[in-house]
Structures are given as C-alpha cells and as structure tokens.
C-alpha cells in the first residue's frame, strides 16, 4: 500500500468526522452570525450619521444658510421647523431631534441632550459670526465687497504624496484578516492536538501504529483537519466579502480580494507550522484534561505576536519591531498579511518570509514527528519533552 493512500485514508477519516461534527457546524454558523450582526449594527449606526436639527421662532430663518454651511462642512443634516419651543425641547429629550435652535438670529440658543457634534456647533457659530459681521459692515457703511480680501484669504496646500484613499479599509482589512487567521490557526491547530490525545487516551493508536507509521498518522491528521479549517476560512472570507460589498460597510477596494486570497495562503502556512507543534505537544500527555497545560504555551504565541506587532504596526506601519517580527515564522502568518494590506511589505520581503516559513515548517515537522513517535505510545504520565526528543 502506498504512503499517499495511507495518508489519504487517515486524512479522509479526519475530514469526514470533523466536517460532520457539531462543533464545526455550530462554530461556523456562530462566526457567520457575528459577522451578520456586525453588518446590521453598522448599517443602523451609519444611518444615524444624519443630524436632525429643529428650528423654532426667529431661528427658522436660518434654515437655508445652515443647510449650506453644513454641506460645506460635509455634514448631512435634516432640518425641520418646530412650531412650539416646548415641543421642540421635548423632541430633543426624546432623541427625535439632535439639536433645537431657538431665539434671535444674532444670538441663538442651541438646545441639545447631552453632547453636540462639534462640526454642527462650528457651523452654527460661523453662521452667527457672519451675521454679526454683516451688521458691523452695515454700521460702518461699507459695501459688502469690502470683505473680499477676508473671504479670499486661504492657505495654499502643497501635497508631496498623493493620499491613500484606501488607508482606512486597508487597516480594517488587515485587522479582520489577522484576527480570523489567529483564531483559525489556534482552533484547528488545537483540534490536531485533541485528535492526538483522543487516539492516545482511547488507545486506538496502538492498533493504528501496528499498521502504519507514526509520521503517516500525524501527517494525515494534520492534512485532514487543515482542509476542514481551510473550508471554514473560505466560507468566512467569501461571506465576509459579499456582506461587505452588498452592505457597503467596507468600501471593498481591489486590495481586499487579493488580501483575502493571500489570507488563505497564510492560513495554510501558519496552520502547518502550528499543527505540527500542537500535535507534538498533544502527544506528550495522556488525557484530555492534561491537554490544556501542554498546548497553552503554543497557542499563546500567535496571539501575543499579533497583538504586540499590530499595536506597533497601526500607528507606524514601517516600524522596525513589527517588520522584524513579521519575518519570524511563528508570527509571519498573522503579521505579514497585515503589513501587505497596509502596503508596507515589498515583494522581496514577502518572498523571503514565505521561504523562511517553508523551511521552518519542514524543520518543525521533522522535530514534531520525532517527539510524536517517541511519546505517543507512552501512556500513564506526562512525557518530558527532552525525553521524547532524545530517544
């Protein structure tokens, strides 16, 4: 029987049992539900961005200039007239109006609940000052054109680099991609460790190893679970892109598609690295209850690296620490895609990081296979790492 048939059989078993398992189905649905809720919330909150302003008494005359000023500031406002001041105040209290403007044109009062949008306040103040200025001009008997110099005065802007219109979405994308990758790698890497312990604690491993080699068993397990993980990542990415595009939550730039496709590649690399480590860690213990203590040190690695790296990366995408971290294979799969999404990773860096990862996957898999082979049949206690490596 060929090696590929053996690995295929083991991987096939892992694949079908995992894909049918409740935890996979529920887990995937839960993630999709969270995404849907996020989109819904964002859409609802997004609609609240229109400011509702009520005008009453003399202030009703401000309607047109206020609308013009708000538009100038890039605010969307909905202006209405309120007949009764008391009713207007009540509407502000009830949250039906964001702002009620009343009183004389020269010195109006703006009533708001607890906070006011500074942009709106600014628009109102400019409006009132312009009114006052008009009054001063009229008193001085100067023509309105006397203000031309004042109105035309402005700062000339000299732009050295064109702005990146995608900066916001890029950061959002790199964050989301990174979080999904960290969670997926930990989830499915831990599944490998659990699978190893399941075989060890149920002793079925002895029957298996009487027939196939330890590395074939480990390789098949990693492969089968990896494909299940990949399917989940593809589902999340696909649904995420569709939701983002249809709801307009993220204005999906061209970079999004390539980021998502790249994420799949990074998932595969990261998963193989961590799955080998976690599989070896799992083989050191004999019971599921002991597993947590063996895998936690490994599962903390991607999280810590991601949090530290990204915190440095967002304020300053080109900082040295996160650049260096993104080359260390343990953190490459989560930090490199973030750097790529931020547009600060030249192709040669990406190629080098991938090469480093492939080399370390080979080394780690070899070491993990050795630990696994030596530890997987030792039941009873916890196997010391050094003992497992030595024999």
């Amino acid at each position: 029987m060929t090696t590929s048939r053996v690995i295929g059989l083991v991987a096939g078993r892992e694949f079908t049992t995992r894909l049918r398992s409740k935890s996979f189905v529920i887990g995937t649905l839960a993630i999709l539900a969270v995404m849907a809720v996020y989109v819904v919330l964002f859409t609802v909150i997004g609609k609240g961005a229109t400011a509702k302003i009520g005008l009453t008494g003399q202030a009703t005359a401000m309607s047109q200039p206020l609308a013009a000023a708000a538009e100038h500031l890039g605010k969307t406002v909905q202006i209405s007239t309120v007949d009764n001041e008391a009713a207007g105040v009540q509407q502000v209290r009830d949250g039906k109006l964001d702002l009620l403007v009343k009183g004389p044109l020269g010195a109006p009062t703006a009533v708001f609940k607890s906070t006011v949008d500074p942009a709106l306040q600014n628009a109102l103040e400019q409006l009132v000052r312009a009114q006052a200025l008009q009054g001063v001009l009229a008193q001085a008997q100067l023509p309105p054109s006397a203000l031309n110099a004042y109105q035309n005065a402005k700062v000339t802007l000299d732009q050295l680099e064109p702005p990146d219109p995608d900066q916001g979405p890029r950061i959002a994308l790199s964050l989301i991609t990174g979080v999904v990758l960290v969670i997926s790698i930990i989830t499915f890497g831990t599944a490998v460790a659990q699978g190893v312990v399941e075989e060890k604690s149920s002793r079925v491993v002895e029957i298996l190893l009487a027939t196939i080699r330890p590395w074939q068993l480990l390789a098949g397990k990693v492969l089968g679970i990896g494909v299940v993980g990949l399917i989940q990542v593809v589902i999340i990415a696909g649904v995420g892109l569709v939701l983002a595009r249809t709801s307009g939550v993220v204005d999906v730039p061209a970079v999004a598609l390539s980021t998502v496709l790249g994420a799949l590649g990074w998932y595969v690399l990261g998963f193989f690295l961590y799955a080998a480590l976690l599989g070896a860690a799992g083989s050191l213990v004999s019971r599921q209850e002991e597993l947590q203590s063996a895998v936690t040190p490994v599962t903390l690695l991607p999280t810590v690296g991601f949090v530290v790296g990204l915190n440095l990366l967002l304020p300053n995408p080109t900082n040295t620490v996160s650049t260096v971290l993104s080359f260390i294979p343990l953190w490459t799969p989560t930090l490199m895609p973030a750097r790529i999404a931020l547009g600060v990773a030249p192709p040669w860096q990406v190629a080098l990081a991938v090469a480093l990862m492939i080399v370390s996957i080979l080394v780690v898999t070899w070491l993990a296979g050795r630990i696994y082979r030596n530890a997987v049949l030792q039941t009873g206690g916890r196997v010391r790492l050094l003992d497992a490596l030595r024999s």
């Binding site: 029987m1 053996v6 002895e206 298996l208 027939t211």
Partner: protein
Amino acid sequence: MAEGVLEIDRISKRYGTVRALHDMTFDVRAGELFGFVGSNGAGKTTTMRIALGVLAADAGEVRWSGRPVDLATRRRIGYMPEERGLYPKMKAREQLVYLAQLHGMSSADARRATDGWLDRLGLGARRDDEVQKLSLGNQQRVQLIAALVHEPAVLVLDEPFSGLDPVAVDLMSEVLREQAARGVPVLFSSHQLDLVERLCDRVGIVRSGQMVAAGGVTELRESGPVRLVVDGADTDWTAGLAGVRVVTADGGRTTVELGEDGDDQEVLAAALKAGPVREFARLRPSLTELFRNVVTEQGAS
C-alpha cells in the same frame, strides 16, 4: 523456514536498567494455537508489541515465513492490544471499514468483510451505533472484528479472553480455532490456564523475560518425574520397592513418585499383593500446577 511460521528469535529489550526481555525465543507454526502464559510483567505484552513493530527490540528478530517482519507483513497481522482501543465516537461499521482499509483492503472488500463479521457476531443491528454507546460485551466483539476483518495471515492477541462473559469466551474460542484451521498461526496470551490447556496446541511459559518451558500441552504435562496414585491397602506396601518415593499417603490413597529406576508395573504388583486396588493412575499435573512449579522453581534458583 517453513511457510506461515511466526518466529520470535532471541529478542531482548531493556527499559532503562530493567531487563524486560532476554533472548526470548519461540515459534508459532501455521495453523497452530499457541498459548502464551506467565505472571504479570513477565514480558508477554512487550514480546507482542515488538512483534507488531509498535516497540523496537534492542536485539533479535521477528520473522514470518522466514523473512523479517516489516510494515507490509504487519498489515497482514491481526492484533488485539492488551489495552483495548477504538475511536469512541466513531460508528462501529465505519470504524471497522476504516481499519480494514488501513490494512490494505479496497473499500468494497472492507465493507463486505465488515458486514459479514458484524452479522456473524450478532452486531448487524448495532452497526451504525457509536462504539462508546455499545455495551462492554459488544465493544469487545467490535475489537475482535478489528483484529480479524482484514483476513489476517497471523493473529497476535493480548489477553483476548480477559473480561469476557462465558458466552463470549465460547465465541472467542470458536473463532480462534476456526482461524487456526485456516492455517493462520495464532499467538495469544492468557491468565486463564484451564482455557489455554483446553484450547492450545502448544504453550509457552514466560518468566522474567525468558521462555522457560515451551511445548505441546500433553508433552509438558508428561515432562518431569512420573507420579502414580494408588487407592489400595492401608499398609506400608511400598517399602522395598526400588526407585519409588512416597509423596503423600492418606488412608489407602497413596501418591508415589518414580525415580530413574522405578517401574510402574512393579508398583502395581506390590500394591495388589498388599490388598485390592480400586484405582491406579498416572498423575499428570494440570497446566496450573505446572505453571506454579515452573515459576517457583525458577524463582528459587
């Protein structure tokens, strides 16, 4: 060496400073049931694990049909480990088909063989149950099928009878006999010596990692000094007989052991002369007595 023989040839294994096996040597012929007996920790499980390649020996070789056992040969061995184990959350049939395929069967053959065995052992209605939901007895049946489903050329079973109810013991015995009749060498270990005595063609007794006695059950029982039991006169009729030692004398019932120059016919004649003889028989030790003798003798030396 002959076709189909499983040979364990001078296998040694150490765990640190503990000597688990020392020059363990025996063979199991084609179509033979070989019972492997010995105290706990004598080295039976270690020997079997080495034969299956689950453990590596420090020295020695395991051969089948004259060739060293490799991975391809191991696929043709049916193995029941001492620590029973199956995937608890996998359905019985699915699991057996998977194991049969790992042993090199095509998926169609694996399904056919699995269904055949499940029906034969009365598990047909339970085939889609998770193993953990089966009763203990049924789990043991599934475990037995796991060792047999790929039509093994060799069977190695570690304590196959332990924990079985009487019906299951009969079923297991029947299956093992049937497999041997197919020409398969069957090696199994057991503490149930009466069962081994009844079932096995040959027996091997292990002590401290070494084979101390191996042979046919009758052959082993007849080895050692001849003992005779005579139920006759209640007098000291044995006096003067050459090469005869009295082991016990209880009323008219006397047990004697013959030495090199002893003669059973002389004993009978002497007994008849002293009075009527109601019973005269050769006393063969049971396997249990033999086992006790071998183990304590060796322990003393």
